[in-house]
């Protein structure tokens, strides 16, 4: 707790509540801490504050005018009123100004339902408009990339211009003209095309001025379910939300996490989601080419595992969760040891976000390469995640393939294995040689965790329903492992993680509770630091 006597803190009163915050805090942030939300447009925590929307003005006792809460810092004994008559009148007045030229085309606007202009006007706007004058019309402009601009809806907060300038450090947008002829525009014909983080401007646009072409007219905001998750497109592990309708992922949005991605994500990750909705899925366990229920299939598989002697070889997808990888690791050890491999696609270069350097589109284009490294799995194959299968192809003992689609496997891959278990989501040609085909779920269909490139373990949650009888990979493998080593099979993700944490020192002592919604760093194996 903050020490009230410390010169580093300031105590003030906001709407009658006493608040103690660090020196230099703005009124807006101090109010947020007290649970008071002050409406604003131009302020964004990841950008500079131009104090130009004039919506966040509050009354400060002793000040001759209302002050912008986004740039005014707190001082001791200050008395702030965010809900006084003057402050409310200011908001009502400014909101009316916003509507002078706004087209009010909410019924066909993509932002409708998640629009700050709707929200604020509904809360504090005038009941009836007084505008009788013809409105100014800008029309629509293609900004390039995935971004479409509807000039008439713009509230001129300039968040987009500032994001491109300050965060992307790739100035592609500007305000042209002045007065109410001001409009956002691109400098050159290509606009935002090729700018790797430009999609974020759609997220930070408080209204429907900047919309995603990909998402345009696909769904209404109120029909979307939001599920916290982790972006699987590279090893950065940006915190995201899955926006889901009709059991289909409709779009991805970044979720704030200052340790990982701030408020941002890259366009590569943002638009790499169609595969999550693939329909060609494995839905039923198959043993020797015949469909079977889970109990029988697992029983048969267990018998085979006990029967076959000698080292095990396993191939795991770097899309597998910590829990799934941990179960593979455990199973290999329980079966007398062996080797575990993984193949991960790799980009030629990293793509950093200059204004928020923590966020980098990493070379490894899979979410859980770090966990594979921690567990000592060996990388094989090239940067396309192809090749390298010679190490497993002719293995004669138990062959375990988890998640890897084996798209480039030879005809005879696994044909000599005495027990070939294929645990995956999608049908693969090489599956024909598998003795056991066990359908598993994708990351959107299960709970689990990934370890990102920084060594941060982060949870993701289930957003969609799994097809048919598919189960999380850790549940399938965990059931087999429990039979081999004793104990109960894990039925919840946190139990599976706890099992894994018992054997992987980097995870030891960490629970799902520790991870929360923003993750926690793995234990340093050599470190002596304790809690």
């Amino acid at each position: 707790m903050a020490d009230q006597q410390s010169p580093q803190t300031v105590t003030l009163t906001i709407d009658g509540q006493e608040v103690t915050v660090p020196k230099g805090t703005t009124i807006l942030k101090a109010a947020e801490r007290a649970g008071i939300k002050i409406p604003h447009y131009c302020f964004h925590p990841g950008l500079s504050s131009p104090a130009m929307c004039r919506l966040c003005l509050v009354e400060v006792e002793g000040a001759p005018k209302l002050l912008p809460s986004c740039t005014t810092t707190v001082s001791d004994g200050q008395v702030v009123l965010t809900d006084s008559e003057a402050a409310r009148a200011q908001r009502t007045g400014v909101l009316e100004f916003y509507l002078v030229n706004h087209p009010l085309d909410c019924p066909i606007c993509d932002q409708s339902g998640e629009c700050k202009l709707q929200d604020f006007v509904f809360a504090e706007g005038r009941e009836h408009g007084r505008g009788k004058e013809p409105k100014r019309v800008f029309g629509r402009d293609d900004f390039g990339g995935d971004v479409l601009f509807y000039g008439d809806r713009c509230v001129m907060c300039t968040r987009c211009v500032r994001f491109m300038r300050e965060v992307a450090e790739d100035e592609r947008l500007t305000v042209v003209e002045r007065g109410n002829r001001s409009v956002i525009d691109t400098f050159f014909e290509e606009g935002l095309e090729g700018s790797p983080f430009a999609g974020n401007i759609v997220d930070i646009c408080p209204v429907g001025a900047l919309v995603s072409k990909d998402f345009l007219y696909k769904a209404r905001a109120w029909d979307l379910d939001h599920t916290p998750s982790v972006c699987p497109s590279c090893s950065q592990g940006c915190n995201i939300q899955l926006h889901i309708r009709d059991n289909l992922v409709q779009r991805l949005k970044p979720r704030e996490n200052l340790e990982v991605n701030g408020w941002w994500m890259c366009d590569f990750g943002r638009h790499n989601y169609e595969w999550m909705n693939r329909g060609d899925r494995l839905e039923v366990p198959m043993v020797g080419g015949e469909a079977m229920g889970w109990p029988e299939a697992l029983e048969t598989a267990l018998a085979r595992l006990k029967e076959v002697q000698g080292p095990v070889k396993a191939l795991v997808s770097p899309h597998a969760s910590n829990e799934e990888m941990g179960m593979v690791d455990g199973l290999v050890e329980a079966l007398g040891g062996g080797e575990v491999f993984y193949r991960s696609p790799r980009a030629q270069d990293e793509v950093p976000l200059p204004g928020f350097p923590t966020l980098v589109r990493r070379r490894d284009l899979a979410p859980n390469v770090k966990a594979a490294e921690i567990m000592g799995f060996q990388r094989i194959g090239d940067d396309e995640a192809r090749g390298g299968l010679e190490a497993l192809q002719d293995h004669e003992g138990i062959l375990l393939v988890v998640g890897d689609e084996l798209a480039d496997a030879a005809e005879e891959f696994g044909s000599r294995a005495q027990g070939f278990l294929y645990v995956g989501q999608y049908p693969a040609p090489a599956m024909k040689n598998a003795d056991f085909v066990l359908p598993s779920t994708t990351f959107t269909e299960q709970e689990g965790s990934y370890t990102n490139v920084q060594g941060r373990i982060q949870r993701f949650w289930q957003g969609t329903r799994a097809p048919g009888a598919a189960r999380p990979g850790w549940m399938v493998l965990g059931a087999l492992l429990a039979e081999l080593t004793g104990g109960d099979a894990p039925v919840r993700a946190h139990e599976a993680f706890a099992r894994v944490a018992e054997r992987v020192s980097e995870f030891s002592g960490i629970t799902y509770r520790d991870m929360g919604t923003r993750g926690t760093p793995v234990q340093e194996p050599a470190s002596l630091s304790g809690d």
Binding site: F97, Y98, V100, N180
Partner: protein, 430 residues
């Protein structure tokens, strides 16, 4: 009679050499006693110069009337960073034409003032930010700056004092808002000319983030006289609160419009009736905008006892501003006049703050509708409310400038609006 019009009641300190082309040259200026003040200032030392200007009570002539010496004293005494003096020559307030005259007739008077001020605030580089439309003016000024450099009055080792003071003339793009001091700084830095949020104030972080002082041309032009003759000599003119002389830019319906230099506190009616030769034949006074179009309009009654000083005009219900006296007789169509002024501000709004960006053009549209005879009485209430919402709610005061003429004209000339609304007839339009 010289320089378009002059009058015996004038006290010509700044405008003494208006109309004399020789005064533009360095030689001509020196012959008229120029650059003695600079030499004196360099001997006095910066703090002493600031002190004299403070004592003189010289108030900023750009409109706000802030005491110049006090402003200078806000600058750090021990420079740890470069200091900048910015001379605001972006004169664009409708009705104002004094700085242009100072620059084109007496450029060296301004340069001398700039150098003295730069010296006082320990600035090694001063910029003169000229309005984009000042074509001839800027050429004359640039030539004068060149002469000053050639004569060792600017640049390194000014007059052998060891002090470096560069002077750069910068020509703006012609935007009204670049006359706002922080907008000016942004423009000078090559950014959009938009006012900045204060704090930080210019003396803490101004041009390029360095301590800066912005002074109007007329303010700086007044400095040489003060330094040379002392604060007391300056205080002989004007009132206690508004010492010195001031250039009054009179435009509109008087016989002899023009620039007149008068001691502050001069009676308004004396200016109109005597100095400016009175109204046109057969016309009567309807109203006066005393300080440029952004201040409230005074009606004829309010003008009667109005004294032209900062406090005197405030007492009458308006502001002295930059003393741009716009005179309107009974032929004036007040609705059209106000609409045109608001149109100017709507056009010049930088577009940052919502109340100004949206409000100014909204107000213009409503006024246009009233002017076209399609207004309603409720429109007047709307105008009052909207302009109230535009007052004191934005980063700079451009928004307030829309409110002042609208509110004052509705209060004082309401009948004229109502006639237009009810009958569609123009009042007074000649």
């Amino acid at each position: 009679m010289a320089y378009p019009y002059t009058h015996e009641k004038e006290v010509r300190i700044l405008s003494k050499y208006f109309g004399e082309p020789e005064a533009r040259t360095l030689e001509g200026w020196k012959a008229r006693g120029g650059y003695k003040s600079l030499a004196k200032a360099l001997e006095m030392g910066p703090d002493q110069v600031t002190e004299v200007v403070k004592e003189s009570g010289l108030r900023g002539r750009g409109g706000a009337g802030f005491p110049a010496g006090v402003k200078w004293s806000f600058m750090p005494k021990e420079p740890t960073k470069p200091h900048y003096l910015l001379c605001n020559a972006d004169e664009s307030e409708p009705g104002t034409f004094k700085d242009r005259e100072l620059l084109r007739w007496t450029p060296h008077q301004v340069i001398e003032g700039v150098l003295i001020a730069a010296y006082a605030i320990r600035s090694e580089h001063a910029y003169i930010y000229c309005r984009g439309e000042f074509f001839e003016t800027t050429q004359i000024l640039a030539r004068a700056v060149e002469e000053a450099y050639e004569a060792g009055l600017a640049g390194e080792d000014v007059m052998g004092s060891g002090v470096t003071m560069d002077v750069t003339v910068h020509v703006g793009g012609g935007a009204y808002i670049c006359g706002e001091e922080t907008g000016l700084m942004n423009s000078l830095e090559g950014r959009r000319g938009q006012p900045r949020v204060k704090p930080p104030f210019p003396a803490q972080a101004g041009y390029r983030g360095m301590p800066s002082t912005v002074n109007n041309v007329e303010t700086l032009a007044s400095v040489p006289f003060i330094v040379e003759n002392g604060a007391e000599a300056y205080r002989e003119y004007g009132t206690e609160e508004s010492p010195g002389t001031k250039l009054f830019c009179v435009s509109g319906h008087v016989q002899k419009p023009g620039n007149f230099e008068l001691p502050l506190g001069f009676p308004m009616m004396e200016l109109l009736d005597e100095v400016c030769g009175g109204m046109h034949e057969g016309r009567t006074l309807k109203g006066v905008i005393p300080g440029g179009s952004s201040v409230p309009i005074l009606n004829a009654q309010e003008c009667q006892d109005c004294e032209l000083s900062y406090e005197g005009v405030a007492k009458a219900g308006s502001q002295l501003g930059c003393a741009s006296v716009i005179v309107m007789d009974d032929s004036t169509d007040m609705v059209k006049q106000v609409r045109r002024m608001v149109g100017f501000y709507a056009h010049e709004s930088c577009g940052q703050c919502t109340p100004c960006r949206e409000g100014s053009s909204w107000v213009e549209k409503i006024l246009r509708r009233i002017e076209d005879g399609r207004g309603t009485e409720e429109d007047l209430d709307t105008l009052m409310e909207v302009t109230t919402q535009m007052t004191g709610t934005t980063i700079c005061v451009l928004s307030d400038s829309v409110a002042a003429p609208v509110q004052s004209s509705i209060e004082k000339f309401r009948e004229e609006y109502l006639t237009r609304i009810r009958t569609g007839e123009k009042v007074g339009a000649a």
